[in-house]
Symmetry: C2
Subunit: 343 residues, 2 copies
DNA sequence: TTTGAAAACGCAATCGATTGCCATGATTTA
DNA sequence: TAAATCATGGCAATCGATTGCGTTTTCAAA
């Protein structure tokens, strides 16, 4: 089957014995066309099944109504939810989404950003990869006048729009909750400290300890324990200390919390009575483990919608001086069985 | 900060005192340019930080190296994994992905497909929504000569490329496993029968029963139980029968299996000894419930890669007569505690 | 030195849609 | 009746990259 030739405004123009200019004006609902011809054009366009060639239109207009999104991994719960939220909000405004994943690699992230710039997206939404310390690729985006919105994992020194979680407060509240439940030696599984989110969560942890005058014990703080396996390994190490912790805050993710839980099961340690476990992200599974895991919900879909709406607001007020705006969403502590020592 | 003017081939041409034609040829590594000027162009382009305007290029070339993907929900585990697989394979070939979600709505699905056609994507990859009975929008895609690839949930009557799971065999093997474990009265939670996948899974169930000469009992087959809540409701209904089932195959999803498990817990029914539970999809959580849930793995990331590679193969051999090709991936039964009655 | 082929590169059209400017004719106002 | 205003809609340039065709240059063979 040979593809039908695509209908252009010239085809419509020819058929109606007018010029493409008028067709274009009619299709764009300009008021410089006669109502009658406008209707005629619309009718003919529908009959011929005309579809506007967005490539041509975008080239001419210099904008694409497209937003590029770069995330470390598309199929990570948090990110796919954010994307779903963005899609939902942008779709309503007739915008499209181009999605890339950096796979946590800096070089791929740079390539993704370049591709998006070549595609002339109107806006780039990014959560940087764990490897990213150099942000010149993001500066290029700004130089080109493309709106840049960072979320969750952000390069803080760049003055861009940002949508973040208040990790510090959330983390502090989580640890305070543990303290109030009577846990005395609270360990922290921390993530790569070049990422703001992990640094903030650590700060929250430290603040909570300080608030209650609990001395910080470095042997209870384990670096880079951000997968299930690393969480498990860290737990084995912690529990074999002469003076082991009685609670572990897996500030990196629920996956590492799951690793903690696994090891606790293996070693026949009772959760929450002997060991409290607290995760981060409110992954679906935290609700159904035994015991269910206390965690922090980040409102990821809502975050996506916030990002999209932030873009649209900036668009509309772009004559106003654009101050680097930061929207901080306060996560919510979800208290479940794994930390309820007092009950 | 005012955006820098974008550099075009004309800027490069002017600077080097040649024409844009030569610049273009140089950038495209054509053999109709002098090696020296080619290098000069490349060097200048790098200096000026030239980026090809893909809008212009695509308009001229008539193709976009872009693939559009339409799924019911981006943030559903199976789909986000498929997307991740597609992204991985297409990225290597320099292709981009535009992602849309239909939210299981037919009208939104149609709009998504139209947008993608307007964007002149080279290929549309789709898993249809549950509402989709009318497929004229997909016929339009074919008419326009855009490659169409259906996956998982497909409109079978359309002769397109398809990548599917062998649901029937997988489902049959699942039920055979239940029978071999000694379960006698096996209930089926089925999904909307207008979707091929659910129909096939039902057929697999029926075939397994027939093979072992087990009579089909309609009161053990519950329609439309494809969420956790519906699965729970169905279970309550089944377990209150005078002669309740001793196993439930939640053929729709692991979520409905989870609903089954919840109700079993509530009613103090022992799994797997009093009730066997079998899900579908191998969601992450099935491994960590108590007991862990036997389920079917669909190799979703691999499925995504298969889809992408199928497209590239078709591209390369497009002179060969294009036969509607169907790739069927055999899912794998993952046996876990929830069905191990014999152990 | 002349001829001829190949190499290198310029010209101009093209991909479709958009839009500022101008021309035409109709309508209105003085 | 003449002048001014307005509604329509055509013309042609534009957005940047690509490419068929044609011209110029180069270099070797005759």
């Amino acid at each position: 089957m040979k593809p039908k030739k695509r209908i252009t405004i010239y085809d419509i123009a020819e058929k109606l014995n007018i010029t493409a200019s008028s067709v274009s004006r009619a299709l764009n609902n300009s008021n410089h066309v006669n109502e009658a011809t406008k209707n005629l054009v619309l009718k003919t366009a529908a009959e011929l099944n005309y579809k506007r060639n967005l490539l041509a239109s975008n080239l001419r207009m210099g904008k694409t109504k497209t937003i590029g999104v770069v995330v470390p991994r598309i199929n990570q719960n948090f990110f796919s939810n954010v994307i779903a939220g963005i899609e939902d909000a942008t779709y309503q405004k007739g915008y499209n989404l181009i999605i890339c994943q950096s796979n946590e690699s800096h070089s791929k992230e740079v390539k993704c950003v370049n591709t998006l710039m070549n595609q002339h997206v109107d806006c780039i939404v990014i959560s940087v990869s764990v490897e990213s310390d150099d942000h010149t690729h993001l500066e290029h985006v700004i130089e080109q006048g493309i709106q840049l919105i960072q979320f969750d994992r952000v390069a803080e020194e760049l003055e861009t729009l940002k949508v973040i979680n208040d990790n510090e407060t959330a983390s502090m509240e989580a640890v305070v909750h543990l303290i109030q439940q009577g846990y005395k030696r609270i360990a922290l599984l921390e993530g790569p400290q070049n990422l703001n989110i992990f640094k903030q969560r650590k700060t929250g942890y430290l603040n909570a300890l300080k608030k209650f005058n609990i001395p910080v014990n470095d042997e209870l703080i384990i670096e880079n324990a951000w997968t299930k396996e690393l969480g498990a390994a860290a737990t084995r190490k912690l529990l074999s200390l002469p003076d082991p912790p009685d609670a572990i805050f897996a500030s990196t993710s629920d996956f590492s919390a799951l690793g903690v839980l696994d090891v606790a099961h293996d070693m026949d340690i009772k959760v929450p009575s002997q060991l409290g476990i607290l995760g981060y992200s409110n992954e679906a599974f935290t609700e159904i483990t035994t015991p269910s895991i206390t965690t922090v919900d980040q409102f990821s879909v809502h975050m996506g919608k916030t990002i999209a709406n932030l873009y649209f607001e900036e668009m509309e007020n772009k004559e106003v001086a654009v101050t680097p705006k930061v929207i901080s969403i306060k996560p919510q502590l979800i208290i479940r069985s794994s930390t309820l020592k007092n009950k």
